[in-house]
Amino acid sequence: MSTRVLLDGNGAASIGLKLAQVKVISAYPITPQSPISEKLADYVVDGSLKAKYIRVESEHSAMSCAIGAQLTGVRAGTATSSVGLALMHEVLGVAAGCRIPIVMPVVNRSLVAPWSLWCDHQDAMAERDGGWMQLYAESAQEVLDLILIAYRTAEDARVLLPTMVCLDGFFLSHMSDTVHVPEQATVDSFMPPYTCHNVRLDPDDPMFINDLTPTAEFTEMRFQQAVAFENAFDVLEEAMADFKKVFGREYSLIEAYQCEDAEVVIVTLGSMSGTGKYVVDKMRAQGKKVGILKITSFRPFPAEQIKKALANVATVGVMDRCAGLGAEVGPVATEVRAALSGKSVQGFIGGLAGRDLSPVTFEKAFNQLLNKELTDKVEWIDVREDALTIREVK
């Protein structure tokens, strides 16, 4: 049973944490995440969520409080964005290393400088190797669904990895859409109550957590995290399969859209995927064999699945919404290139700081690939021609 509700991505994320019945919330406002902090406060005040709300003084404390609370044996919730995520950086590693499966919505927004309030993926990409799983949503419905899938996976004893559910700032966070909101009882049947499978603070069974660890053991603890990421592939797929049984909606680590017979495919992440699919439909109607491969799980990175899905595709492009400064191509393209070694993979960078990745941009990228205009270098697909002279002081 579910109810159809008009929700934006932030609303869907708030309901996701509410349905997970987080017992402690520590939240700090930041555009465009603030409505999540506000909505969770509303739930606590109106009594619909039995939780303690800790009005922290920073994102660093938000994550620290969440870690502390969850170590006592309850689910703890927080959410952030951009520089807030960057401020959390130090303690994100604590959650990961202590194997505390916190699930956190991350409303993607560019990092400063220059200041911007708008969407790109640099905030989450800067955290991609820190021991958190990362799932990227395409729609408000996906935000809610991926949060539930994230809890099921993250808390599984074979995984125990904290998880970011990434939603594009404004494009998803503030765009209203119809969302099927499940009943609490249905969610409860999908998601068992929280149990600590690893470390726990309890005076009845004392242990000291996170002490100085000798070189003789550190590598092994990191290795355990790596094994957890390996395990996460199967556990995610199990959770997604169960999710389909319970809620009827289908998810997978990647979504191949019109890739079977495609000559050219562009790999996407997040909300841009919808635009990409729209352009695929349009160009297919013109007889052009193009497709979109959306990555839902960026961490763990489904290299094998991508390789399989693109086995018969001659030319691949990757649309990175993150500059990947100093690298040959953007962060997603770097990994797709590695997965498809030998195949030509054109890296594109676009859509930074809220610049719309429009149908025109996708069409341009597809045509470039169809015309075999490929370079080893990354193509800044939507950069202005006057890039090097804007705001020039003479």
Binding site: S26, S58, H60, S64, G68, V91, V94, F208
Partner: protein, 292 residues
């Protein structure tokens, strides 16, 4: 499997790797003795991390978590909230951090927890510098004092951390010293009781032979002299404005007498020592005014 290697009476085992004459070890034993086993301790990386242990061994018989340098109060607040939501408000949550982790890098998180009224006990053990990293100056290092980052003597006054905490109007704030163990015990008891209402804060003066250059066997004497010379007055503040001296000093000793047992003031000139004396007297006069 847990193997108990020490039958120490208290909650801290024997053989902790603190330095000789460390005041912190004594303070930790007393604090945990008063608080009892229904306590969770949070320590940052610093000297108190000796309590965390190393590898698969620890010396602390209560649950503990070693956090980061700047967020002891935030971890403690989260832990307390987690217990509260499970009907276990009786679990005492103790943040136990040094001066660097409190008056410098941890000030923001602590202020947040105090302002929110989180029911935690926060104890700053103050050895007046970053001792675990090798005696670097902190916001709590006294005027004209040598550290490795104030090689010419610190040119500014220390922060009035207790005043900063008191400004949050929390139920209980007190200074304490390992030189006055009875006073310390009473204050830990009062602080523990106060956490039923809101945050409590203790600031314990801890001589550090390694950083101060006093002989290890003089640590208690040095701690007493700090109080007797008015460098470290012992007082408490209830609800932000009820000040009370807990150890009266009828005939104050010279600051010079306190510092002569330590090498860290050896570079201070006669003028600088006089300046130190004057600063201490001014601060004490201000404190007496508050007591009224």
């Amino acid at each position: 499997m847990l193997t108990m290697k020490s039958d120490a009476k208290g909650l801290v085992a024997n053989g902790v790797s603190f330095c000789h004459g460390c005041g912190l070890e004594l303070a930790a034993r007393i604090v945990l003795d008063v608080l009892g086993p229904n306590t969770v301790i949070v320590v940052p990386p610093g000297c108190a991390a000796m309590l965390s242990g190393y590898g698969n061994e620890t010396v602390t018989k209560i649950p503990g978590f070693q956090g980061n340098l700047e967020n002891t109060a935030a971890y403690a607040a989260g832990i307390k909230a987690g217990f509260e939501m499970q009907g276990r408000s009786d679990v005492q949550v103790l943040g136990f951090a040094g001066d660097g982790a409190t008056v410098d890098i941890g000030l923001q998180a602590l202020s947040g927890a105090l302002e929110r009224g989180d029911k935690i006990l926060y104890i700053c053990y103050d050895n007046e510098a970053y001792m675990n990293t090798g005696i670097q100056g902190s916001g709590s290092t006294p005027l004209n004092c040598w550290t490795t980052t104030t090689p010419g003597g610190k040119s500014v006054y220390r922060k009035d951390m207790v005043g900063i905490v008191a400004a949050h109007k929390i139920p209980y704030v007190a200074t304490a010293s390992v030189g006055y163990v009875d006073d310390l015990r009473k204050k830990v008891e009062k602080a523990k009781a106060a956490t039923a209402e809101g945050p409590a804060y203790l600031h314990i003066h801890i001589p550090c032979p390694t950083g101060w250059g006093n002989k290890p066997e003089t640590s208690i004497e040095v701690a007493k002299l700090a109080v007797q010379s008015l460098c470290w007055p012992l007082y408490e503040i209830v609800n932000g404005d009820e000040y009370k001296l807990t150890v009266a000093v009828s005939k104050p000793k010279e600051v010079a007498e306190y510092i002569k047992l330590q090498k860290r003031f050896a570079g201070a000139s006669a003028e600088e020592i006089a300046e130190l004396q004057q600063g201490v007297e001014q601060e004490y006069a201000r404190l007496l005014k508050r007591i009224g």
